[in-house]
Amino acid sequence: MPDSKGRFGIHGGQYIPETLMNAVIELEEAYNHYKNDPEFNKELTELLNEYAGRPSNLYYAEKMTKDLGGAKIYLKREDLNHTGSHKINNVLGQALLAKKMGKTRLIAETGAGQHGVATATAAALFGMECVIFMGKVDCERQALNVYRMKLLGADVVPVTSGTATLKDAVSECMREWTTRIDDTHYCLGSVMGPHPFPTIVRDFQAVISRESKAQVFEKEGRLPDYVLACCGGGSNAIGSFYHYIENEGVNLIGCEAAGRGIDTFETAATINTGKLGIFHGMKSYFCQDEYGQIAPVYSISAGLDYPGIGPEHAMLHDTGRAQYVAITDDEAVNAFEYLSRTEGIIPAIESAHAVAYAMKLAPTLPKDKIMVITISGRGDKDCAAIARYRGENINE
C-alpha cells in the first residue's frame, strides 16, 4: 500500500476525500516535474522580478533600532511587493504551475483578502477565471480588498457557514474543488492543507529567506541572530525561516495571534493553546475542544484568524528549532502605530504581530545582535479597522 505522504515528523499527510486524491496526486507529479524545469523557473523568476518587484528590500530600521536600544533591526519588506504582501510569491508560482497543467480556473480562500487579491491578480494576468471564497465577517472587516478582487475580475463568494471566517473559507474551497476538478486549480494560500500544498507553498515562499540571507550577509558579513515573522497558517513565517533552518545559531520566532489573550477563548494562538489533531487535510496542531470540535478562534487580524498551523511549523515546534510566541490584539495595534510613526512604514496588522514581539525582545538584546523582521504585508487595508479599534469611525 502507498505510504502516507508529505510528512513533517508526525505532521502533514493527505486527509482528504477520495474524490480529491487523484487531483492532489496529479498536482504533486506536475510540481515534481516543473520545479526542476529550467524553463519554468526562468519564467517564474522573470514574473517575480519584473511583475512582482522582487527582490524585496532588506531595510535597516535605524530609528527603531535606536529607539528600542538593543539589537540591530532589519525589515524584510514583503509589503513592497506588487499587491502589497508576500502572498504574490506563492500565487505566481501556483498560477504558472496551474497554467502548465492546463487548468483555466483558480479558486482560493482568503482571510484578510491579501491572498485573494494576489490570486485575482495572477488570474487577471494569465487570463484565468477566478473565484475567491471569503468569510462574510472578513468581507465586512476587509471591504477594500473585496472591492480590489472584484476590480481584478474575480467573483467573491461570501461564506456564511460556521464562524464565517478563514477556516470556513478553506472548507468551502475544498467543497468547491470536489465539485469541479477538471479545469480548476485550488490555489491554496498557506503552508497547510494536504500534501503537496505545504511543500509547494513553502518552496515558493522560500524566496524570502533565500534573499534575506544573502542581503544580511552582504550588509553585515554574517547571518542574523533572530528571524521574526507573524504566523497564522504560516506561509510568510516558513518562507522567512526556511533557508536559515540549517543554521542552528539563527533563532527562528513565529508570532501567533493571541487575540484577547491565550487565557481567553478569544484567541487564535494554535501552538500556544491547541493540541494535535487532523483537519483541512493535515495532521498538525489545532485549537479544538475535548471532542475534537474545531474552536471558533478570534484575532483582530483576519489573516491570522485560523485555528490551525502548517505541519512544518508543528514539526519545528516539536523539535524546538523554532519558537512560537503569542501577541495580543492590543500589542499588535500598538506595534502597527509604532512602526508607522517611527519608520514611516504602515505594516499589515498581521505583520504588526512580529513587530510587537520585536519591540519586547530587541531591548533585551545587546547591540551587536542582528534581527530580521518580515513585514509580510502593507497596512492600508487595516486602517479603517484599527481606527475603529481606537474608537474612531472613518469612511474607507
Binding site: Q14, P17, M21, S161, S171, L276, G292
Partner: protein
C-alpha cells in the same frame, strides 16, 4: 464474517443516514427504531463535526444544530448502547464522522468504546486509502470495518482500494459534497462494474439520491443505496415528530429497490 455482510444477504440493501443529536438524541434513537421497522438494512449514524468538509448545507447545518444542542461523542455512544439494549435494534450500525472526532478521542479508546456499544463499522470521508492504516489497524483489533470510499474520479485507484475493502464499499455517485441532486451524471453502471471486477465485497451508492425512482435506478448496478440529506431534511422539518415521517420515507425507498 463481518456483521455488515448480513445487511446485504436479503436482496438490495437500503442504508439510511441520520445526524445524531438533531434535534436531540432521543429523536435520533426513535428514528433509528423506525428505520429498522421500515426495512432498512443498515444505519449510518453521523457523529456531528464542527467543520464537515465533505457535506453540503443540509447535513452541515444539522451537525451544527446538534452540536449547539449539546450532542457529544460520549452521548452518542450512550444512545447506541440504548439502541442495542432496550430499544432492540439488531441491524448493523456504522458511524459516519470525521477523522478528528476519532483521533481526538484516541483511536484506540474510540474503537474500544464503539465495539462495546455494538457499532459495526466507521465511514471517515477525510481518511483516504493512503491514510487509512493509522485507523484501520486499530479497527481490525476490535472487529470494526473501516468502510472504503470510491469516487467518480478514482479511476485506476479502484482496484487498489477495492482489494483492501471490508464491510461494504461506499461508491460516491457524484463529484462534490453530500446533498440532494435532481440529476446524477456519473456513469454509475461502469463505476460499479469496475468495483465488482476487483472485489466480492458488496457496494452501495450514496450522494445525491433522494427519490424512489433514483434509488430503483441505482440499485440495478449496486448492492445497496445510501440516502442522507433527504432524511436529514425530514428531521429538520418535523423535529421531534420526525420518527414517523422518517419511517414512512424509508419504507417507500425500501419498497422501491425490492
Amino acid at each position: 464474517m463481518s456483521n455488515i455482510a448480513k445487511a446485504f444477504e436479503n436482496g438490495k440493501a437500503f442504508i439510511p443516514f441520520i445526524t445524531c443529536g438533531d434535534p436531540d438524541l432521543d429523536t435520533t434513537a426513535k428514528c433509528v427504531v423506525e428505520m429498522q421497522k421500515a426495512g432498512a438494512s443498515l444505519v449510518e449514524l453521523g457523529i456531528p463535526f464542527s467543520d464537515p468538509t465533505a457535506e453540503g448545507p443540509v447535513i452541515m447545518e444539522a451537525s451544527l444544530r446538534a452540536l449547539e444542542g449539546g450532542c457529544t461523542t460520549d452521548k452518542v455512544f450512550e444512545m447506541v448502547a440504548k439502541l442495542r439494549g432496550e430499544m432492540g435494534v439488531t441491524i448493523p450500525m456504522v458511524f459516519m464522522t470525521y477523522a478528528n472526532v476519532v483521533f481526538s478521542y484516541g483511536i484506540e479508546r474510540f474503537c474500544k468504546k464503539a465495539s462495546e456499544v455494538g457499532i459495526d463499522g466507521f465511514i471517515l470521508p477525510d481518511v483516504p486509502y493512503e491514510e487509512k492504516n493509522e485507523f484501520d489497524s486499530v479497527c481490525k483489533q476490535y472487529g470494526i470495518d473501516l468502510i472504503s470510499l470510491i469516487a467518480p474520479t478514482s479511476d485506476e485507484r479502484i482496484s487498489m482500494i477495492a482489494k483492501e475493502a471490508s464491510g461494504f464499499i461506499y461508491i460516491v455517485s457524484s463529484l462534490g459534497v453530500t446533498g440532494v441532486r435532481s440529476n446524477i451524471t456519473t456513469d454509475i453502471p461502469s463505476l460499479c462494474a469496475a468495483v465488482k471486477a476487483a472485489t466480492d465485497v458488496p457496494c452501495a451508492i450514496g450522494f445525491g439520491i433522494s427519490t424512489p425512482e433514483q434509488a430503483a435506478a441505482m440499485s440495478k448496478s449496486a448492492d445497496g443505496v445510501i440516502v442522507g440529506s433527504a432524511i436529514v431534511k425530514i428531521v429538520a422539518q418535523y423535529g421531534k415528530d420526525a420518527p414517523e415521517q422518517v419511517g414512512a420515507y424509508v419504507k417507500s425507498m425500501v419498497d422501491a429497490i425490492k
